[in-house]
């Protein structure tokens, strides 16, 4: 029976409904201590004095540790995937409110927490900068010297740079935009902004380090265990094989738990106290760890009178917060798609990653794409309305078709953009008349489409181990954080080996036995690890055939593996171990022009249609229907794939309508679930989900990534529906009732008093 394409339940389903699923959150080890973190109360300042004496004197406190103490076990305690800019505990300076400054270790977490309250720190406050555009020219400099990690070639030129907050500038030029604007019938220019928001995984960040004999084991809720191993080894000056990283299931990730987060701290503390140490953040503390980039995106288009876009200029400022994390990659990898999935001859992109004195910003379900789609799909809709062209027609006229070059010059392949657009139009249904209402409640509808390149070039390695009874285990470091990777990878193994997917055992990451994977991020696993798993299973299959030949079995005979082992080894014994490594081909964008003939192995396409009701007296927007369409090639598990669609769209709905980290003088004023609301049962509109019938020809069994695709279009589709309903255009996220009401009242010529 075909295993790929089956909509089977998640392999770990039973453990999840019984409460017995294994998360790092649950982990307790003999002799384990707990650490709590003392955090900065100022957004930018020099550390004058840290007084830990009262904390250290509290009965039950094992140790109080500051940044200087960390140096005793890690002399250069700066980490990060793109820049080595983040100290394990603050050294000399603090750069954002909530930055870890000291840690208290105790056997009782309540004692550690109480001791944290007894620490006193004095800072000499420095001018701070919070806005990404101001950060370009601000006198407030977040980092005195830039320290690129050396991992990425396009960051090398920033090494040693001083007096700047720019952590990467990416530029792309194709054709001549100035000339094209001059010759265009119309030129439109708008600026859109998006807010700081966060992942808010329900299993908050948690890690445990366990010192061993010449090694250390890190148990962590992390999406990139192989990177954790490399980065901890680098910090300690050890070999990779002295660092063991174990990752069970994750209680949500969404891009928060990529690269290293708590791991350097727990390792340093465990090595200092020589006992296992656990750090488990509270929900509030998650607001000081990693967030979604706020952005300012100025977009300008030249258009013919019949709606063909001839030129587009994109200037994107990404607010990276106090530490780079993976922000520079967001700036570049997403930056080159800023003009949208449109066929435009003349393009100019300037994308800037900025340091500011906010909580660091990284990857959040879309790696920057939702911020871009927010701008280009609102902009595209405004143009259509101004020119009196139907928004679906406007897009159909301009979309990138197969074989046409994207902004980088890479020719589109297996990107079902038009199919997604058609499916949206059909399911809305766009051609049918739509009742916009007349009274207090007005109705509107809107659509948006977006696309994303994969993170390239990245590597995945997998091992398939067939035991003598014929049962198969899969060793891989892909992290299952709810997206269903364990299940679909088991389906791939089962398909190749012709067994039942439910009978494949998927090992959770233990870097002592699971090989390298770049990370569970950017919707890359199905494609990259999917290939590695396929190759490993094919290798195992070939080795089984070789074993059968060694055993003297005639080729082509259909012996079950268990009999092959017995025939070859005279008893039930032995293993067959297949391995597979996958890296796609790639050409990095040219340093000056940004051009590349092969910038990504595949494109993800996502589109959203929204129907809304607006209460014109209160400004409240109610989404009455959401249509989510994506191209994920041919899904390995259609049921799990569909839940990724509705889940991604709902998360984006929160970012569209209400989620917002509110900053006041650098302080987050709503750092709790009481004040930062996320979508609940009552916020979910009726949804229609569709995966278009497509095939990724270079993908494993025709499949490609999906986890982020449903997030792309939600915000602009709702903004476009709002314009359709009441004729107002919001350019900032989120679109709260207050923002809608202010715009409505301004349009009516009777602005709210404080807007007047």
């Amino acid at each position: 029976m075909a295993q790929v394409g089956r909509g089977i339940p998640r392999l770990e389903a039973r453990s999840k409904v019984t409460g017995r699923a294994e998360y790092t959150h649950n982990l307790r080890l003999p002799g384990m201590l707990y650490a709590k973190v003392f955090r900065s109360t100022v957004p930018h300042g020099r550390i004058v004095r840290i007084d830990t004496s009262a904390a250290a004197a509290l009965p039950g406190v094992e140790r109080v540790v500051t940044g200087e103490d960390i140096r005793k076990v890690i002399p250069e305690p700066y980490y990060g995937p793109a820049f080595h800019d983040q100290p394990i505990l603050a050294l000399d300076k603090v750069r954002h409110v909530g930055e870890p400054v000291a840690a208290v270790v105790a056997a009782d977490p309540h004692v550690a927490e109480q001791a944290v309250q007894l620490i006193e720190a004095e800072y000499e406050e420095l001018p701070a900068v919070y806005d990404e555009v101001e950060a370009m020219t601000s006198q407030a400099i977040v980092h005195e010297v830039l320290k690129p990690a050396g991992t990425f070639a396009d960051l090398k030129h920033l090494a040693g740079k001083t007096g700047t907050n720019v952590a990467l500038d990416f530029h792309l030029t194709r054709g001549d935009t100035d000339k094209a604007f001059a010759g265009a019938d119309h030129v439109f220019e708008h600026t859109f902004r998006s807010q700081q928001a966060l992942h808010l995984a329900f299993e908050p960040f948690v890690a445990v380090a366990e010192p061993g004999d010449g090694m250390v084991t890190v148990h962590t809720s992390n999406q990139t265990p192989s990177f954790v191993r490399m980065e901890i080894a680098r910090l300690l000056g050890w070999q990779e094989n002295q660092v063991r990283v174990k990752v069970p299931l994750l209680g949500g990730g969404f891009g928060a738990k990529v690269y290293v987060k708590l791991e350097p701290l727990v390792v340093a503390l465990a090595l200092i106290v020589r006992r296992p140490v656990k750090v488990a953040l509270t929900m509030e503390e998650q607001f000081y760890m990693i967030t979604k980039h706020p952005t300012t995106f100025r977009i300008k288009s030249g258009v013919t009178k019949d709606g063909k876009i001839t030129a587009r200029e994109c200037e994107v400022h990404w607010n990276g917060g106090a530490y780079a994390d993976i922000g520079p990659r967001v700036c570049q990898k997403s930056g080159f798609t800023a003009p949208g999935p449109y066929d435009i001859d003349h393009i100019k992109i300037d994308s800037y990653e900025l340091y500011t004195n906010r909580t660091p910003c990284g990857a959040l379900r879309g790696f920057g794409i939702p911020q871009l789609v927010w701008a280009y799909e609102c902009h595209t809709d405004i143009i259509a309305r101004e020119l009196g062209i139907d928004p679906v027609e406007m897009r159909r006229k301009n979309i990138l078709r197969e074989g046409r070059p994207q902004a980088t010059g890479t020719k589109m392949k297996d990107a079902a953009i038009e199919q997604v657009l058609d499916a949206l139009a059909e399911q809305m249904p766009w051609s049918k008349p739509f009742d916009r209402g007349t009274g207090v409640i007005r109705r509107g509808r809107g659509i948006a489409i977006g696309f994303k390149a994969s993170i390239s070039p990245t590597t995945s390695v997998a091992i398939v181990n067939v035991s003598a009874d014929g049962s198969a285990s899969l060793n891989m470091a892909t992290t299952d954080m709810g997206q269903g990777s364990d299940t679909i990878m088991a389906q791939i193994v089962a398909e190749v080996l012709d067994i039942q997917a439910e009978h494949v055992r998927v090992m959770h990451t233990d870097t002592d036995i699971t090989p390298y994977d770049m990370g569970t991020l950017g919707s890359r696993s199905t494609f990259h690890m999917g290939h590695a798993v396929r190759l490993a299973a094919e290798d195992a299959k070939a080795k089984l055939a070789a074993l059968a030949a060694e055993a003297g079995l005639p080729p082509g005979t259909n012996y079950p593996p268990s009999e092959i082992f017995v025939k070859r080894y005279g008893m039930r014994a032995g293993n067959v171990i297949g391995s597979g490594t996958y890296i796609p081909t790639y050409q990095s964008p040219d340093k000056t022009t940004g051009m590349s003939e092969n910038v990504t192995p595949f494109w993800m396409i996502g589109g959203t249609g929204a129907e809304i009701e607006v209460d014109t007296e209160t400004g409240k927007v109610r989404v009455t229907r959401l249509v989510n369409v994506a191209d994920c090639g041919t899904p390995i598990n259609p049921r799990i794939a569909t839940t990724q669609l509705s889940g991604g769209a709902t998360m984006a709905l929160g970012f569209t309508l209400f989620e917002d980290m509110v900053l006041d003088g650098g302080q987050v004023t709503n750092a709790s679930l009481a004040d930062y609301k996320i979508p609940g049962m009552h916020d979910i509109p009726p949804m229609y989900n569709e995966l278009v019938d497509a095939k990724q020809s270079n993908g494993p069994f025709g499949a490609k990534g999906l986890g982020e695709s449903a997030t792309f279009g939600v915000s602009p589709a709702i903004a476009n529906a709002l314009d359709d309903a009441v004729g107002i255009r919001l350019t900032d996220l989120p679109m709260t009732p207050e923002a809608v009401l202010r715009a409505l009242r301004a349009k009516e010529g009777r602005p709210l008093e404080d807007d007047a």
Binding site: G19, T643, M681, H682
Partner: protein
């Protein structure tokens, strides 16, 4: 930090006792018995991940002092498959894929049991009402609603 006292209560049908300090919450108490289905997440009684049932009443374990269960009866998600078989609610959650990461799932399972005990044939509004105190960041809400309906049809 403070004075421990001994409490006696019924945990998933079994009489137990332990020493507990006054500041410990119900989640910490349950962890002492190696029960990890109730999980502290938001710490404010808003997400529902820490749901447990005390004397028939669902409570937020993160806000419920452990000493308050003295003499009472506590039920956790681990009670439902104590005999090795899943409850109909649990089976329906699996059949309908009503979770992704699974971290919030025990809370939803407990509240669905509570709902179907109070209202064996719940309306859509009943479902949303009973489950509005449980949040799912993966947003498996449509699948959860389908699972609750299926469980109701199957009779819990």
């Amino acid at each position: 930090m403070s004075v421990a006292r001994t409490i006696h209560f019924t945990l998933n049908g079994r009489k137990v006792s332990t020493e507990i300090e006054p500041h410990h919450n119900l989640v910490e108490l349950l962890q002492r018995f190696d029960l990890f289905g109730a999980r502290e997440s938001c710490g404010q009684g808003l997400c529902g991940c820490c749901t447990a049932v005390v004397d028939g009443q669902p409570v937020s374990g993160c806000l419920y002092f452990a000493v308050m269960v003295d003499g009472k009866s506590v039920t956790t998600v681990e009670a439902f498959d104590a005999d090795g078989a899943l409850s109909k609610v649990q089976q329906a959650f699996i059949d309908h894929g009503a979770f992704q990461c699974g971290f919030c799932t025990p809370g939803f399972v407990l509240m669905t049991h509570q709902l179907l005990q109070d209202k064996p044939n719940p309306s859509d509004d009943d479902i949303r009402d009973y489950l509005s105190g449980n949040l799912c960041r993966c947003a498996a809400y449509p699948e959860i609603i389908a699972a609750v309906k299926a469980a109701a049809r199957a009779g819990r």
